[in-house]
Amino acid sequence: MAEKLRMNVEQALASLSSVLLGKERQVRLALTCLLAEGHLLIEDLPGMGKTTLAHALARVLGLEDKRVQFTSDMLPADIIGVSIFEPQESGFRFHQGPVFTQLLLADEINRATPKTQSALLEAMEEGQVSVEGERYPLPVPFFVIATQNPSSQFGTFPLPESQLDRFLMRITLGYPTADVELQLLAGGGTRQQAYRLEPCLTSEQLKQVQAACRQVHASASLIAYVQRLLQHTREAEGFSYGVSPRGGLALLRCARCWAWLSGRDHVVPEDVQAVLGAVVGHRIRSASDLAGHESDRLVAQLLAEVDVIGQ
């Protein structure tokens, strides 16, 4: 049973990698994020394959997906839905918005106004939507994969820290390498390939995998290492603020999933280190750079300064 699950997950990874050439690490991270039941933020320039990744993920996991392109004139109702007066029924009827889906792709989330952003973020946090005093539960599982342009670009409303914190991971895709790019150019568009992917997991199996990930053993020394990492972001020089306890829990959760994906039933420090940048990067800020562009450097510093073994 477990073997079958693992095989399916491996297959899903392979499928994803076949679409996103040369991005094994990011693909794996994205899958980790979904296995850890968290929302994913992909930050990169336009045209780097963000949407392709989101589509491909939805396909291979066999999830129903919808896509919303955020713009600066969007209103919350455009996402959540709206109550419309039905003359036949002589009453209001709620028309569900695109948020009612298993996997929502929120493209260029930082182009929307904060009001609209927060409407989505409430849905992400609560797993439900309130409209005019009525609560409408969202389907399970519910994932949001949001993409955003780097905040230095024009026409963006950067997400505040409190909302960034709702995303379990933030990853960047980056330019492809030369070889990959050649392959890419020769092979034509990849978006269509993504639509053609076959689902590898049923949603039942996905639940099982998620349960299995939660069972991965994290030893006391490992947890101590995680705690030292968190502590360091709060105490060391160069950090303007540190990682919240929620961030810590997120880190451990992701490390468990990464370990499971790597075929282990226990977490080792390398798992933590693998997901550290993605989980912690958007939760810390350099004291010298408030725009938040130095998170990679900070994560590297964190890794180098915290002893894995400790005393």
Binding site: H217, S219, A220, V268, A304, V306, V308, Q311
Partner: protein, 658 residues
Amino acid sequence: MKGRQISRTAVVWQLLAVMLVVLPHVQWLPLWVPALVVLAIGSRLMIHSGRWSFPHWSVKALLVIASSGGLILSFNHQAGPETMVALLVVGLALKLLEVYHRRDALVVLFVSLFVAATAFLFSESVWIAGYILLTTVLVLAALNSIQQSSSARRFRDNLKSAGRLLLPAIPFMLVLFFLFPRLEPFWSVTIDSGQAKTGLSDELSPGDVSKLAQSDELAFRATFEGEVPLPAQRYWRSLVLSEFDGRRWTRPSHEQRQVLRPEQLQPLVSAQRYEVIMEASGRPWLVALDQPLRAGQGTLMTPVRTLVMDRPLERRRQYPVESVLQYRQQPLLTRQEARHYLQLPAGGNPDSRALAQRLLTQADGNTDGVITLLQAYFNKTFVYTLEPGRLGRDSVDQFLFETREGYCEHFASATAFVLRSAGIPSRIVTGYQGGEWNPYEGYLQVRQYDAHAWVEYWQPEAGWQRLDPTAAVAPERIRTSAQDYFSTNEGFSSAGMGLGIDWLRDLRQRYDAFNYSWHRWVLNYQGQQVQLLDDWLGGEDRWRRLLAWLLPTMLVFGTVGYWLLRPRPTLPRDPMARALMRLQQRFATLESGREPAESLAMWLQRVADDWPKQRALMLRLAFLDDQQRYIERKDPHQQAEMKRLCRILMRQLPRKKR
């Protein structure tokens, strides 16, 4: 804290400490006091083993009353240090009976330390010092043991930590020893019972010196800056006796002393400088070689050129002297002085007076002639012995004409009597003659059996001159030491000086040399200290002294404090973590240390390729560490294997990068 009961080990420690602390006092304590201590320890042991219970208060009250009475009876209301120490010891013994809480034990041990220190009131020998050091360690161990609630710790551990506690005290002790000014005691402690003090008396009657000569106790030691005088020159003068009552020679009476002027001394050769360490004698007079030039530090010169102190010598004392061995002393006498040195009792000893007249006529009134004749007379039939017969009323007559045997005081007394009868001013000098050279430390040791009496007679122009009648009878006594003389003469074997065996004598000399060093460099360090401070600080300024004493103290305390509180790289307590830590440190010296971001397994796998021989071991260790640390498989076998692997690796790895 104070309410807690002390452990059984601690009780045993205390009993041991008390026993050892009281031990050096046993020789002088009244017998019942050690008996009480033994009784207390014994009953304490019985209580300790659970066979007896703690004594009822009435028993304790009885013991207190009885022992207080005992102290009063034993010490006759004297409030000397013996009484006080005895009181302490008794209190210690009684307190032992009721040690139950930690507070009681503290009282016992603190009083023990005090009692231990009082041992120095009675003896300052190096043996006692060593013994007290040992007991201090023991008392500290006992103190240590009462701070532990369980008796799980072994005796050796207590002893070890006591030693460790004493170690930081050593530098402090040295600083105190070298720099702390030696204060005179604020009160004078006179102790009669301990060091038996023997020495010359200020009067001389037949039998006095020979009694002294029975003792081989040390009188004093002397070190010379230049050449050591020959044995025949070693006349150590101490007292001048010039009044005779027919039997006893005494110092001049107070009225007579007004008459005597301080005597002039014209040195004929350059002075000899030396230092004397005089043992406690209980009397104020000191010794100096014939004749002292001037009084040194802390001593006074009498008119008759002997050295005294302003109070009795209750402790060993070191003083410098300068003497000239050839001199002219007091070439002129006033009439009153001459009368004083010719004084004789009105009657008695008629035969001796007649002998003096006879000799005077025989020598045509020549003083030298009289002396030569007298010496010849002695030489004929007289015997030099330590055990002359007892002399009656006319002691000089009896000695000169009947017994004809005697010790130096008999000869000196008779000579002075005859000379005075012949109208030659003369007097008796007592002191010591000779001394034994100790080659190991280079000093002269003079013992009580070197005590001697001789005569000085006065002649116009020449002044006072020494005349030793013993030299005529037993010249070897003067040329060699008293010890040699006695050991080779049958008649003196009774003096207990059968030290003919060379190695025994050698051993004794070595022992004495050792004691001498102890006295000179430790107990009497004061002189050198003043010198040292002067050398270092260039003068005896009070502030400089204070500084000199404060700075090293602070330095010592600072060092000790830093050593105790220094930030130490905390090696983990867990033996396995420690082994792994050591392994990492070793690899770090080999320039393949672990990076902080690396787990042990990652790191070992990374560096394993650099060590082909150890590769398998390292990979195995990596695997095991992963198992232990992250799977938390608490498998003792695996842990043992890891430790073994660490050991093997430590053994195989070089210490430094080649």
